[in-house]
């Protein structure tokens, strides 16, 4: 359904106020993967790993530097805004902070009705009925439509964010940290809602999160990103049973768990390097416990391992 081929995204930034020479932030480098219909792909990584950039680039909210985005067998990489308008009906996004993405001066009714008006898809008579159905689908009552964003709690606002993404009955939703800003008990409600609408609306999804347990709960395929590169792509089951890439291993072991005390944590050295000047060779080598000399020379390619997983690491003996 969606295919990403060698996608890279670079940002230009000025060195300093007084120095006009440019620096290049390599936010994404050579990312390739594909998603089948009805799959949920989890994107996981720490800050600066390029998760959100990837989501926004697929939506074409950002233009890719190189590479191709193929949606429903159509290459949309070069599409302009006018052409994207059609695609975006099928391709929607849910953001992390629903307050920042809702217009505070508009009632929920107006916010939800606006895209329908822009695309002149529905006549006034049916509009009300349609919005009531959508708002009930996300578990809010009819009166919510006449209220303003500030009258809702964080969880309810996220439900509105989801309702807005559903307006066009899309085929594909990119959810960028949809539950990160919510309290645990509310997070569970929203996760359940996302699961429900995934089934009801027959959705294919990209689910971006830094929270591994949420990813584990929600996705079928997991992509582990680090400094803009894919470290490992795997089915959820295999990844959580036995992560292969040293970064996946460390990331999974770093999560504090309620059910058992985590005794053999793999601690990583140091901090995440800056994407302005990523390490040569394997970007993870500066923090990797298994790094050898060759890791600084060879940029590891994604290698296929037993059919449904790929790992970018040259040291297969330690997997």
């Amino acid at each position: 359904m969606l295919e990403i081929k060698n996608l890279s995204k670079e940002f230009q930034t000025q060195k300093s106020l007084f120095n006009s020479s440019n620096l290049t932030v390599k936010a994404l480098q050579n990312v390739s993967f594909s998603i089948k219909k009805n799959q949920v792909v989890g994107l996981v990584g720490e800050s600066g790993s390029g998760k959100s950039t990837l989501g926004k680039t697929i939506m074409k909210l950002l233009n890719p530097t190189t590479g191709n985005i193929i949606f429903n067998n159509i290459d949309i990489t070069e599409y302009n805004n006018q052409q994207m308008k059609k695609i975006r009906k099928k391709l929607q996004m849910i953001f992390q902070d629903p307050f920042a993405s809702l217009n505070p001066r508009k009632t929920i009714f107006d916010t939800l009705a606006e895209p329908l008006r822009v695309h002149s898809l529905i006549d006034k008579k049916n509009l009300n009925e349609y919005l009531i159905k959508i708002i009930q689908d996300v578990g809010l009552n009819n009166e919510s439509l006449s209220r303003y964003p500030h009258e809702f709690s964080g969880g309810q606002r996220q439900r509105i964010g989801i309702a807005r993404a559903l307006i066009f009955k899309p085929q594909f939703i990119i959810a960028d940290e949809p539950v990160s800003a919510l309290d645990v008990s509310i997070q569970a409600q929203v996760l359940n809602l996302l699961e429900k609408i995934r089934d009801e609306y027959n959705l294919t999804m990209i689910f971006i999160s830094h929270d591994l347990s949420v990813i584990q709960y929600f996705s079928d395929i997991v992509i582990v990103l680090y400094l803009g590169r894919v470290m490992e792509i795997s089915t959820k089951k295999k990844l959580f049973e036995k992560p292969l890439h040293p970064y996946s291993k460390a990331l999974l072991s770093a999560v504090p768990k309620v059910q058992s005390k985590n005794t053999n944590k793999i601690l990583l050295k140091g901090d995440i390097p800056s994407p302005i000047n990523p390490p040569s060779g394997c970007v993870f080598r500066t923090r990797c416990n298994y790094a050898i000399k060759q890791c600084s020379e060879i940029t590891p390619l994604l290698k296929e391992v037993d059919g449904d997983r790929k790992v970018a690491c040259i040291r297969d003996e330690i997997w």
Binding site: Q156, A188, Q189, E195, V214, L251, P256, L267
Partner: protein, 331 residues
């Protein structure tokens, strides 16, 4: 064992033009020497207000209406915190009690080097020469595992990463080896791998350098509680709903809210291969609390009595308390 901190019947409220809003109601607990106590709850439950009440850092409209907070100072004197003058408070803060905040960037002075910020604390509380203060500052930086401490000491906060800045905050908190450290969501703003490093560091320091110090660890992350704390207090809508040893509470929660929290975790449901079971409803607003038990509108165990009568925090066993009429149904 001695109690480092004892809070008894604390009521705190925020005053505004529209009247007064209760934010803490009848908070009582104590922390023993060298114990790590976790204070857990969702946003608005009163975790942070509790810590600010202890530190005397409530905003100007915050008011403590009732109760007492007693701290055992380093000289083993009992300090009644609510009766301290500003000068005495300044003596206490940093020396007897230190605090680590969530966002180190807003707590560090952006115009001072790391080194001078740490030395400032040392010079303030200890009568030592500048040179010795510099030496102990370097010692502290080594303790929190900052590489090249001499170089880092000359840097400004913005030159450091989030994890490094939090290490600096920890070193400032440790500077006077306080009796009590309050850590308010110290790892929430950090990435998991950096969080793991910091938790490991805190545990190490706890076992070696400050083994007599008690830690009040405020967090919403139950996984971290499991990893670092001895005892746990669960808060809901400004009250304590459950208290006990971490292992016991997680194994058999005796308040429906605690049980609900644990069952809302994706982790819990993956292992048991169940659909996530959220707590229904929303966290109530503090201006508009339900009658009876504050949790009853969201509670699956609620009876008619819960709608009218307010349950008390009752002692169930030696170190276990719960605020629920129906707790025996959870046993």
């Amino acid at each position: 064992m001695q109690e480092t901190l004892k809070i008894d019947g604390l009521f705190t409220s925020f005053e505004s033009d529209y009247g007064s809003t209760k934010v803490l109601e009848d908070i009582s607990f104590s922390i023993k020497e060298s114990e790590v106590l976790a204070l857990v709850g969702e946003s608005g439950s009163g975790k942070t207000v509790t810590s600010l009440s202890i530190m005397g850092l409530l905003p100007t409209n915050g008011k403590i209406n009732q109760g007492s907070i007693t701290l055992l100072s380093k000289k083993n004197r009992e300090l009644n915190i609510l009766k301290l003058s500003d000068a005495q408070f300044n003596q206490m803060r940093g020396n007897d009690v230190a605090m680590i905040f969530q966002e180190p960037m807003t707590c560090l002075n952006p115009t001072m080097t790391i080194g001078s910020q740490i030395t400032e604390v040392i010079l303030n509380h200890k009568k030592i020469s500048k040179h010795n203060a510099y030496e102990s500052m370097l010692e502290l930086l080594k303790l929190v595992e900052i590489p090249e401490p001499e170089l880092r000491a000359k840097e400004y906060p913005h030159q450091l990463s989030g994890g490094m800045r939090q290490r600096i905050m920890i070193s400032i908190a440790l500077a006077c080896k306080p009796k009590l450290i309050i850590a308010d969501e110290p790892t929430t703003a950090l990435d998991v791998t950096i969080q793991a490093q910091l938790l490991e560091l805190l545990k190490k320091l706890k076992d070696s350098v400050v083994n007599k110090t008690s830690i009040l660890f405020i967090t919403h992350n139950l996984g971290i509680v499991r990893e670092i704390a001895d005892r746990i207090i669960v808060m809901y809508a400004g009250t304590i709903v459950e208290e006990g040893l971490v292992d016991e509470v997680f194994k058999n929660p005796l308040h429906p809210y605690t049980k609900g929290l644990i069952q809302s975790l994706p982790e819990f449901n993956i292992k048991n291969n169940k659909k996530i079971q959220p707590i229904p409803g929303n966290i109530p607003s503090m201006d508009n609390l339900p009658t009876g038990c504050y949790f009853h509108p969201r509670c699956t165990f609620a009876t008619d009595a819960c709608k009218i009568k307010k349950p008390k925090l009752e002692k169930i066993s030696h170190n276990r308390k719960t605020r629920c009429f129906e707790f025996s149904r959870l046993m």
